[in-house]
């Protein structure tokens, strides 16, 4: 008839529960098998611009993708040097977002922030030198913009929000014209 639980057990239980809670929360990101990186890697090689297939029922690469946004991404790998993104930004709504493989969005440029419609930027690690405009770069690379990446491998994702369904072909066309590859020079 002894129903009284000793205080010591209650305390032990709470401390243990707290430790298990912390361990579970910290372990989960590396245990989640299908994070965004794992979903995007199979779509194509590194350092190439890849268009994500148009979102359709049952064919989503990631959950809750926007049906009225067109997406293209470059999985950059800076092991052999900086990587360059080029293309023409179709309108102010475009957003180019940079992520680590864990999904940390460390930098974003939007169409409105850009001085010209020409997208031309270089992704480099902090210790990688890039010929900056005006130093020893040729004239035409005046507008080159350098994004410093905290990681060697990551994702550059371009989002092209649509102003209406009739704009989809134009956006897909414009995304197809963007490129990603090793930064020559």
């Amino acid at each position: 008839m002894q129903l009284r639980v000793p205080l010591l057990y209650v305390l032990l239980c709470l401390v243990l529960a707290g430790l298990i809670h912390i361990a579970a929360v910290l372990a989960l990101p590396s245990l989640a098998p299908k994070n965004a990186w794992a979903r995007l890697v199979p779509l194509g090689p590194a350092n190439a611009m890849i268009q994500i297939p148009v979102v359709a029922p049952g064919q989503e690469i990631m959950p809750m993708m926007a049906p009225d946004v067109r997406y293209a991404f470059c999985r950059f790998d800076l092991a052999k040097g900086p990587v360059r993104l080029k293309g023409a930004v179709q309108n102010d709504l475009w957003m180019i977002a940079f992520y680590t493989s864990e999904g940390d969005n460390f930098y974003t440029v939007s169409g409105v922030d850009m001085k010209s419609a020409q997208l031309d930027l270089v992704i480099a690690k902090a210790d990688q030198a890039v010929a900056e405009a005006g130093v020893d770069a040729p004239e035409e690379s005046d507008e080159v913009f350098v994004v410093k990446s905290p990681v060697e491998q990551g994702i550059a994702m371009i989002r092209a929000p649509l102003a209406g369904p009739s704009r989809a072909p134009g956006a897909e066309e414009a995304l197809k014209a963007t490129s990603c590859g090793p930064h020559a020079s």
């Binding site: 243990l16 707290g18 359709a56 992520y99 409105v112």
Partner: protein
């Protein structure tokens, strides 16, 4: 012998409490990580490199790749304004007003985050295409069969859980920590109409 049983019991209870609370705080969020406005929930520092471990775990599990809250805000609703789960057995009216942002879109998904197949291939309405009244307000009707104004089809299935996502790109009101601000009263009201 009794002590051993008691210790095992303590461990089992601790395991359930620890895992259960972690699961809850990662899946549903808590006031530390999420902002709840009526039926709408938003993970405040999703995608932010300096975010907390709960948000990081939530993001990894979700499989999504969201923009940080300085460039976009995402609000998700699983229920109507009265707290009932959204279901394709019912019809809903989503009433919203203008948002101070470059672009926004409301999209409808099933509980797995997939689009719901429908003949008119209509899955979302955005700020450029939704039919709006002269004061900027709009109504989106969720229903199985065609409805006037903006109609988002909920599919043929009569018992499907529904999820709404409002994504807001380029919010213009930014607070001191750089987070895009959306006033609470600007988020759409989700009212249940009829159920079959």
């Amino acid at each position: 012998m009794r002590t051993l049983f008691q210790l095992i019991a303590v461990f089992v209870v601790a395991l359930m409490l620890g895992i259960g609370s972690a699961k809850y705080m990662i899946e549903d969020g808590s006031p530390l990580t999420t902002k709840q406005v009526g039926p709408w929930a938003s993970w405040i520092s999703e995608g932010n490199p300096n975010t907390d471990p709960y948000t990081k775990a939530h993001l990894a599990r979700s499989g999504r790749l969201p923009l940080t809250s300085t460039t976009a805000r995402y609000f998700v609703a699983h229920t109507d304004d009265t707290g009932y789960e959204l279901n394709s057995a019912c019809e809903y009216s989503v009433e919203g007003s203008a948002l101070n942002a470059r672009w926004w879109s409301i999209a409808l998904y099933d509980e797995h985050g997939s689009l719901i197949d429908n003949p008119s291939k209509r899955w979302s309405f955005n700020s450029e295409e939704a039919i709006r009244r002269s004061d900027g307000t709009y109504r989106i009707n969720l229903a199985r069969n065609a409805r006037p104004e903006n109609w988002l089809p909920t599919g043929d299935d009569t018992d499907r859980k529904l999820v709404l996502m409002l994504r807001i790109y380029g919010p213009r009101d930014i607070d001191t920590s750089g987070i895009g601000q959306i006033p609470d009263d600007r988020l759409p009201k989700i009212e249940r109409k009829t159920c079959s």
